[in-house]
């Protein structure tokens, strides 16, 4: 950057350029002696950021204590920390700065290996990209896996795997390719969308700032060029408006502003906003900044927002868009990195700091801990320093939040010890549907207390059957979207009602408008919707009613659970067998189109499986029979079972 043209060139133009650079925050990780310090020293040196007095000192020290046999040991530039490490001072992360014509870089450098998980999590939390160093002589080590796991855990989307010390393996392309393949094989399990490989020699400067003369086979350009050009802008969540209110600004009676940093989404004057958790709505009047009012704010701008209406908003509240809400709950699951010498105590009260809210909370459940080297999950009763686990957090009151994978700013939290005030844990909130164990747990959850007793009615089933002239039964109409479940359910209800029967219809969509309003469409949530329907159907049957459930119910094993809940003798499984093409053509609600576009994930028939029932009580080819014919067959089935 210190181009000599500056001496004569137009300084104003230069300043203009440099005031518009982008910022990239990156993390460097590697095991001790992989060459991390040398690499950072090399980046600083080759971008001409090392001053002469500093360089002279390094040259002097290289002779005295360098590991390079008197050659310039650039690792010594990073030396400030080594002495402190020896004195036992904890250093989580050291930050380094350099810039080029295109970008300013902030390097989070995590020294030491004992505290690695904690340090790396801290460093990675603010970064866009990680450089993972591998010693070409050693290849992929357990540490490499650990670094990659933590990088993925903290939600970094860009990784550069720098295979270092190529000079020591004769610049061999074969070795490079082998390490690349090894790395790719294991990293497939982790969710890192952008991985870039590079052969380098930090010591000699090959492929760091300047291209290598020793590796003509490498066409991929040097590290710095990649860092200057890698596109990270798309990582920002611009879809979900989240504006956590940090500071209420009331300088005079005429001005009431809500100051804060825009976490995600965009905001414009006139936009309708909803305040959570209170639920009041208003419109954005102005977006005030010192320089001028803005027409549009983008994350992570620090702004001051005024609203059209005088409503009550406090620090910790969040402005969002109606129709795009965060979850507002007391309980959530999270991955937790433990950062304190004192181990986690399950059920103990800590402070949870999330956006600008400080609330009491506990780790209510610890599901497992993860071995950061093998990625294996093992049962755990506590987490010690540097351990990572999956847990359930339970707060004293509900707060608005999102899954970390969707929104780093509203999905992250820290745990604070109430006595020492130390920061003891760092958490990343998980999507609700993640993990099959959660899906099972809905069905298997034990009642909240063993003191609960099932109460029984003095009115017997026989009495009811006599009064109503019917035996209770539950019909589950299952099939793809568009197969005709709802139509058929109500047609059957009409026919039965007209002949004097008492019927209840539980329709999947109606369920979702009310009793299951909190559920999405993942397989776990579909399963939960079905469980609720099954429980209601059981109550209806106990009251003597015939219950018709029109629900997609794509999963065979979940349908089995429904049968168990209701009782096999009262349960009839009806499969509406219209094939996918017919269903697609018939369906008018636009669901398939949205599923094709990926807007609805895990859509049965499109992006998730539908298990055709193995032994249904009746198959109705709704693509061949009309509604009346189907109803006829259903009535015959009920008669044959002695229900009516």
């Amino acid at each position: 950057m210190f181009d000599r043209s500056l001496v004569s060139g137009d300084i104003e133009a230069y300043l203009e350029r440099h005031e518009k650079k982008e910022l990239l925050r990156l993390l460097t990780c590697g095991s001790v002696d992989d060459g991390k310090s040398t690499l950072i020293g090399r980046l600083l040196h080759d971008t001409k950021l090392v001053y002469e007095d500093q360089l002279a000192a390094v040259a002097r020290d290289s002779k005295k204590e360098g590991s390079t046999g008197g050659e310039l040991d650039l690792a010594l530039l990073m030396d400030g920390l080594k002495a402190e490490r020896e004195q036992g001072i904890t250093i989580d992360v050291a930050y380094r700065y350099f810039s080029t014509e295109k970008r300013k870089f902030i390097i989070a450098d995590c020294p030491g290996h004992e505290q690695y998980t904690r340090n790396m999590a801290t460093g990675a939390s603010t970064c866009d990209l990680a450089v993972i160093l591998i010693d070409a002589r050693k290849g992929v080590l357990p540490q490499t896996r650990r670094h990659s796991f933590i990088v993925a855990l903290l939600g970094l989307r860009h990784v550069v795997v720098a295979i270092n010390k190529m000079d020591l393996i004769d610049w061999s392309q074969d070795v490079f390719e082998r390490i690349r393949a090894d790395y790719q094989a294991f990293v497939a399990r982790l969710d890192i969308p952008d991985i870039h490989f590079l052969p380098i020699s930090a010591l000699r400067g090959d492929n760091v700032v300047d291209p290598s003369a020793h590796m003509p086979w490498w066409q991929g350009g040097p590290l710095l060029a990649h860092l200057e050009n890698v596109h990270v802008g798309a990582d920002r969540n611009l879809a979900d408006l989240r504006f956590p209110v940090q500071y209420v600004s009331r300088p005079n009676p005429d001005f009431r502003g809500y100051a804060g940093t825009l976490a995600s989404g965009t905001l414009r004057p006139g936009d309708e906003v909803l305040v959570v958790p209170s639920g009041t709505t208003s419109r954005v009047k102005r977006i005030v900044t010192f320089d001028a009012d803005l027409d549009e704010a983008r994350p992570p701008m620090a702004i001051n927002v005024t609203l059209a209406d005088e409503i009550d908003v406090s620090r910790g509240d969040m402005l969002v868009r109606p129709g795009n809400l965060p979850r507002i709950e007391r309980d959530f699951e999270a991955m937790l990195v433990w950062m304190s010498e004192e181990p986690l105590a399950v059920d103990r009260q800590y402070f949870v700091k999330h956006t600008h809210t400080l609330v009491s909370g506990s780790v209510a459940k610890l599901y497992y801990s993860v071995d950061v080297n093998t990625l294996e999950q093992k049962p755990a009763v506590t987490l010690g320093l540097n351990e990572v686990g999956r847990c359930q957090i339970s707060l004293a009151r509900a707060i608005p939040f999102d899954a970390y994978a969707r929104n780093r700013a509203t999905g992250a939290f820290i745990l604070i010890d109430r006595v020492s005030n130390a920061t003891v844990g760092a958490g990343m909130i998980l999507r609700r549907e993640s993990g099959p164990e959660r899906g099972r747990s809905f069905w298997e959850v034990e009642p909240a207390s063993d003191l609960l007793r099932r109460q029984t009615s003095p009115v017997s089933g026989d009495e009811r059957a006599q009064r109503l002239g019917q035996k209770p039964v539950t019909l589950l109409l299952t099939g793809l979207t568009g197969a005709g479940k709802t139509t058929l359910a109500y047609a059957l209800e009409r026919r039965l009602f007209d002949s004097g029967r008492q019927v209840l219809v539980l329709d999947g969509e109606n369920m979702r408008l009310g009793i299951s309003r909190d559920l999405g469409f993942s397989s776990v949530e579909r399963s939960e919707n079905l469980r609720r329907a099954a429980e209601v159907a059981r109550i209806a049957n106990q009251s003597g009613l015939i219950c018709i459930c029109s629900l997609l119910a794509p999963n065979e094993s979940v349908r089995e659970r429904v049968r168990e809940t209701i009782g096999a003798e009262r349960f009839l499984e009806i499969y509406l067998s219209a094939p996918l093409e017919v269903c697609r053509a018939r369906e008018t609600g636009g669901m398939y189109a949205r599923a094709d576009a990926g807007e609805i994930a895990q859509f049965p028939g499109v992006s998730a499986p539908y298990d055709v029932p193995a032994a249904p009580d009746l198959v109705l080819p709704t693509h061949e029979l009309d509604v009346d014919a189907c109803v006829d067959r259903l009535v015959r089935l009920l008669e044959s079972r002695g229900t009516i």
């Binding site: 300043l15 400030g80 904890t90 300013k104 130390a422």
Partner: protein
């Protein structure tokens, strides 16, 4: 389109300043009259606009600053609507502790470190903003944004908290306090670019002009007032100099320069081949002196 690096740094600093204002009872902003202080105060104005900055500026005055700095301080506070508090160590003044009769270490300890602690006690501040940056010195690279001090204002290196995301842990016990460094991620170049972009006023001493100079132990020292004690054989001569950092005038080394405007200063800085702290006489006393001063509460 993403934010430019200066916009991103500015937003981050404002976030930190607001967070402290929201969570602490009685914050204060340390104001040293230098360009970093100027940027910090500017960021505070932006953070609370259109309101006033809800905390005062504190200048810990050794009484040995350049005259131009005192003039600048008064005007800066007045024109930008700041409440300015000034404190000097009364015992130090009574004993006439000055940079000539005392070693720069003793002088700094009494007139800066002790004076700062007195001021914090006197007004009961529980959070003090400072303009220090991590790029200033190798050992600052690992500094936290929130730096914790115990009841005696001591910095315990083993008792600092990890900082993740932009979630700062502002919990302190009664009597404890923090120092906050909102500009931790800025570099010297960022600061100058920002001063330029925002048109932030700085003390004219940063720009080259003819000034009365004596050369002493390899440093160019400005004879700023009649208190300066010339050694035998020393006569001030007019030389065209500017200062890269400003402090007590008998302890601040100037550099010869022709840079009379901000762009020229930045140009010189970009082409400079020696680091900023070379001009600070007080650092020469001792290696790793920063660390020690910090433990004692200087920062």
């Amino acid at each position: 389109m993403s934010l430019s690096h200066l916009q991103a740094l500015e937003a981050e600093s404002i976030h930190i300043i607001r967070e402290v204002a929201a969570e602490f009872r009685n914050p204060v902003m340390l104001y040293s009259i230098g360009k970093d202080s100027g940027v910090l105060a500017h960021l505070a104005r932006k953070a609370f606009f259109p309101g006033r900055v809800p905390f005062p500026l504190l200048h810990v005055d050794t009484t040995w600053k350049f005259r131009a700095m005192y003039e600048f301080r008064e005007r800066f506070a007045r024109e930008n609507g700041f409440e300015l508090r000034v404190h000097s160590n009364p015992e130090g003044l009574a004993k006439n502790v000055n940079p000539f009769d005392y070693g720069s270490n003793v002088y700094t300890t009494i007139m800066k470190t002790h004076a700062l602690l007195q001021a914090l006690e006197k007004w009961g501040f529980d959070a003090a903003f400072g303009g220090a940056r991590r790029d200033e010195e190798k050992s600052r690279a690992k500094e936290r944004v929130y730096s914790f001090r115990d009841r005696n204002h001591q910095w315990d290196p083993k008792n600092q908290r990890p900082e993740l995301w932009n979630l700062y842990n502002g919990r302190v016990h009664k009597g404890e306090s923090i120092r906050v460094f909102p500009m931790s991620n800025w570099t010297e170049l960022d600061t100058w670019l920002y001063v330029h972009r925002e048109g932030i006023p700085v003390v004219p001493l940063y720009f080259a002009a003819m000034r009365p100079i004596v050369e002493r132990d390899g440093n160019l020292i400005m004879v700023d007032d009649e208190r300066f004690r010339l050694r035998p054989g020393e006569t001030p001569s007019l030389r065209k100099v500017r200062f890269r950092t400003l402090g007590c005038y008998p302890l601040s080394g100037a550099i010869e320069s022709d840079a009379e405007t901000l762009p020229e200063v930045i140009r010189e800085m970009l082409l400079a081949r020696v680091s900023e702290r070379q001009g600070r006489v007080i650092d020469y006393d001792e290696d790793a002196s920063m660390e020690r001063k910090k433990r004692e509460g200087y920062f």
